[in-house]
């Protein structure tokens, strides 16, 4: 079996790779969002602390 045949999935390639592709995309986006939220949360905490210091 060559790779061309493998990706064709005997005519079901669009459905099979469309399923796995979107699932992978969702996982990647979720990981990015969770990391982004951590960075933003830490930034906000520092801003809050600096604002309190100035008062």
């Amino acid at each position: 079996m060559n790779w061309g045949e493998f990706f064709a999935m005997k005519g079901y390639g669009f459905y099979v790779w469309g399923s796995y592709g979107v699932a992978l995309l969702i996982f990647v986006i979720e990981i990015a969002l969770v990391r982004h939220k951590r960075i933003i949360t830490l930034q906000q905490l520092r801003l809050l602390r600096d604002a309190e210091k100035e008062e």
Binding site: G11, V16, Y20, V34, T41, L45
Partner: protein, 245 residues
């Protein structure tokens, strides 16, 4: 050795523990996905009835199982928060919801891509599909309701009620293929055994474990930010090295 479990119900101790645990779930999850999908695509044989299209099963079934289990776990945490007024339980419920919603979406998406070549339709208003769609909306409802109330403790209580009431839907999804005459096929893997090829079973089991570990890693990573946000006025947060720098 006695472990004081109550110690970890305090957000301040759980924050550090969760941070240490994340990589221990994230990396095994990635490795198990690779192994499970390798078996699923290169070892498991072609299905006699559905040809190669059946290979969607290795993401569709684990995602569907996760969407239901995560909802029940979320509802259980929300209920604990409601009954015992424990802050961390409510934070865990909030941290579980987005991951659960994403698994419900993956379940519906991969189901549509499987339904089209097998049934000739992306979507049918079948009991299984409709109850899974309701599950996705329950997740959205939980997230939206929590976000719409400014006082976090009141938001916890209101959304907990929604989560608990919505959990009735989970057994409906599970038994829908038995109770109604649906287009969706019945369970292939039953408590009494299965007719599946052994390599198919292995691939599905391994990707299911991978999904579990992924969900745990995501929830623990997300709850850390929620803890920081909601405990921002406490001394221990101010003293964290990542906040002080």
């Amino acid at each position: 050795m006695a472990i004081n479990w109550f110690k970890y119900s305090a957000p301040s101790t759980f924050y550090g523990l969760a941070g240490k645990l994340v990589p221990w779930f994230a990396w095994p999850s990635a490795i198990l996905f690779v192994i499970g999908l390798y078996i699923g695509f290169f070892v498991a044989p072609t299905d006699a009835v559905q040809g190669e299209a059946y290979r969607i099963i290795f993401i569709h079934v684990p995602a569907s199982i996760m969407s239901m289990f995560l909802y029940l776990i979320m509802a259980a945490y929300a209920a604990l928060g409601l009954i015992f007024n424990t802050r961390l339980s409510s934070m865990m419920a909030s941290a579980l919801a987005p991951t659960g919603a994403l698994f419900a979406f993956i379940s519906l998406w991969t189901g549509a891509l499987w339904g089209k070549p097998m049934w000739g339709a992306w979507w049918v208003w079948d009991a299984r599909l409709t109850s899974e769609l309701i599950l996705l909306f329950l997740y959205f409802g939980f997230i939206a309701l929590h976000a719409s109330i400014d006082d976090p403790r009141r938001a916890d209580r209101a959304s907990a009620l929604l989560a608990i009431l919505g959990s009735v839907n989970v057994p409906i999804i599970y038994f829908s293929v038995k109770w109604w005459n649906t287009l969706h096929q019945g369970s292939t893997v039953k408590f009494t055994g299965t007719s599946m090829h052994v390599a198919m079973q292995q691939a599905m089991f391994i990707t299911l474990v991978a999904c579990w570990m992924y969900a745990i890693a995501m929830t623990l990573a997300r709850v850390r930010s929620i803890i920081l946000e909601r405990e921002r006025n406490t001394q221990w947060v101010a003293e964290l090295p990542e906040v002080r720098s």
